[in-house]
């Protein structure tokens, strides 16, 4: 068995831990760091409940070893709200009823986060394509799509406001 010391940032905080080489990133995040917002929904890399961002890219953390994240910047659902304010995506899921049981929601939000960072103004088709690695058993997806559209509109609004303020100051 080999053990490795890894150092990484998770939601901006640096952690150094010893891990077994076979420890999956999702188990590391949930069990070693106690960040249980990232879920496990399958054994076959199919469901996306475990989605988080590694260096800005949404990946399935059940299919990456924790040692591979050495030196990386990881972002989980716990890091999405800033200073107690919900992220536009979280607000969108709230406003548009983008969840029922909520099991898929952290993964959905992390996938949507990468999508909106790459493409702030996605079409409905692009949203559906962007979350096609995340399964939801409850909503039928329509409300999730609406939640992401809400977040995209909200983030754009925020940007114009900020831009407007800058221009007037």
């Amino acid at each position: 068995m080999s053990k490795h010391t890894i150092t990484l940032t998770v939601n901006g905080n640096e952690f150094t831990r010893e891990v077994e080489s076979r420890t999956l990133l999702v188990h590391f995040v949930r069990e070693d760091l106690d960040l249980t917002g990232t879920h496990i929904g399958c054994d076959t890399t199919s469901c996306g409940a475990c989605t988080l961002l590694v260096n800005g890219r949404a990946i399935k953390s059940c299919t990456m070893f924790a040692v591979q994240a050495n030196g990386a910047a990881v972002e989980t659902i716990e890091g999405v709200a800033q200073n107690g304010d919900l992220h536009p995506l979280q607000e969108g899921f709230w406003e548009k009823h983008g969840l029922q049981c909520g099991y898929c929601t952290p993964g959905m939000i992390m996938s949507a986060k990468q999508l909106l960072e790459q493409n702030p103004n996605p079409t409905e088709e692009e949203i559906r394509w962007g979350i096609s690695g995340n399964l939801c058993r409850c909503t039928g997806y329509n409300k999730i799509v609406e939640a992401i559209q809400y977040a995209a509109a909200k983030a754009r609004e925020g940007q114009t406001e900020a831009g407007g303020e800058e221009a007037s100051s």
Binding site: M1, S2, H4, E20, S21, R22, L24, H27, D43, T44, T45, S46, G48, T51, R57, A58, I59, K60, C62, T63, M64, F65, V67, Q68, N70, S111, W129, G130, S132, G133, N134
Partner: protein, 290 residues
């Protein structure tokens, strides 16, 4: 499920990686991990040592070279989707990249791993067979190129030596009158193909001057539909010729019955997809986008 125990090495240069492979007999290369880790979680794979090549950042590139497109072995599937060169000049590859797994898997999965895994269910083997690609391998003796026709040797088996790393894939630049297409039918978005057909052809006037056709998930080893190729070369793509090509592909493939369908269904789907992919490739050839 949790994989078995293994030793882990993360080399930072190609030579170091090759040396590590030489030192550890039972070692496996870890690239995107999107085939290997699922297999390890089911303990279908129990490697004693993993050599993680994700630190070899200089194997991650897409370059237009003289006469071919060079794709580094560690290039992620998502980079193909984002590449202007691929999207504009290699439509068969662009079609393929879009339908491999889902966006989360594509953020990690590599083109080199997709080929090296030699899984007939994977989509790149058929596409690269149709393109007549070359695979570049690096080992202790240096670098060699392998024609794609010689690359797949069995189910999950390729012609790389245990201490060789797939470093590059070269796709010949499509010439004038060339066109390509990949058509796949899957049970749901992100799934492996029930059947899929890759076509790369060249038209000379109204008739087909050259064609290569690769098939996905309808044989134990990734295969070309040579009978279907012969049915179209030198011909105009009339309905009769397309039907003959489709029937040839249906006859020469060798699917097995599973949850994705019966043998007859998969053969018939292969017939239909062969016809449609040929038609689409020819339309693209006529439209000027290779």
């Amino acid at each position: 499920m949790i994989p078995g125990q293994f030793d882990y090495h993360a080399p930072t240069s190609l030579d170091e990686a090759v040396a590590l492979l030489g030192q550890h007999g039972g070692a496996k290369i870890l690239a995107g991990g999107q085939s290997l880790i699922p297999a390890m979680r089911f303990r279908l794979a129990l490697p004693e040592v993993l050599i993680d090549i994700n630190g070899l950042a200089d194997l991650d590139y897409i370059r237009e070279a003289v006469g071919h497109l060079a794709i580094g072995g560690l290039t992620r599937e998502s980079a193909l989707e984002e590449s202007a060169a691929v999207q504009s000049r290699y439509p068969l590859l662009a079609d393929t990249a879009r339908v491999i797994a889902d966006p989360l898997v594509r953020n990690l999965a590599t083109v080199g791993g997709n080929l090296a895994h030699a899984d007939p269910a994977n989509d790149h083997p058929a596409a690269m067979l149709a393109y007549n690609a070359q695979v570049v391998a690096h080992g202790p003796q240096g670098t060699r190129t392998i024609a794609i026709d010689d690359f797949f040797t069995g189910l999950f088996e390729n012609s790389l030596a245990d201490d060789e790393i797939l470093t590059e894939i070269r796709i010949p630049e499509p010439g004038a009158g060339a066109g390509g297409a990949y058509l796949k039918v899957e049970r749901k978005v992100g799934d492996y193909a029930i059947s899929a057909v890759a076509v790369q052809l060249a038209m000379s006037g109204d008739s087909v001057s050259a064609a290569r056709i690769g098939l996905t998930n309808v044989s134990p080893v990734p295969m070309r539909a040579s009978g279907a190729e012969q049915a179209v070369v030198g011909q105009r793509l009339t309905e009769e010729v397309l039907e003959a090509a489709g029937r040839a592909a249906a006859a020469e493939c060798d699917p097995s019955a599973d949850l994705r369908g019966s043998v007859d269904y998969k053969r018939d789907l292969t017939r239909v997809l062969t016809k449609r992919a040929l038609r689409k490739a020819a339309e693209r050839a006529a439209g000027g986008t290779s």
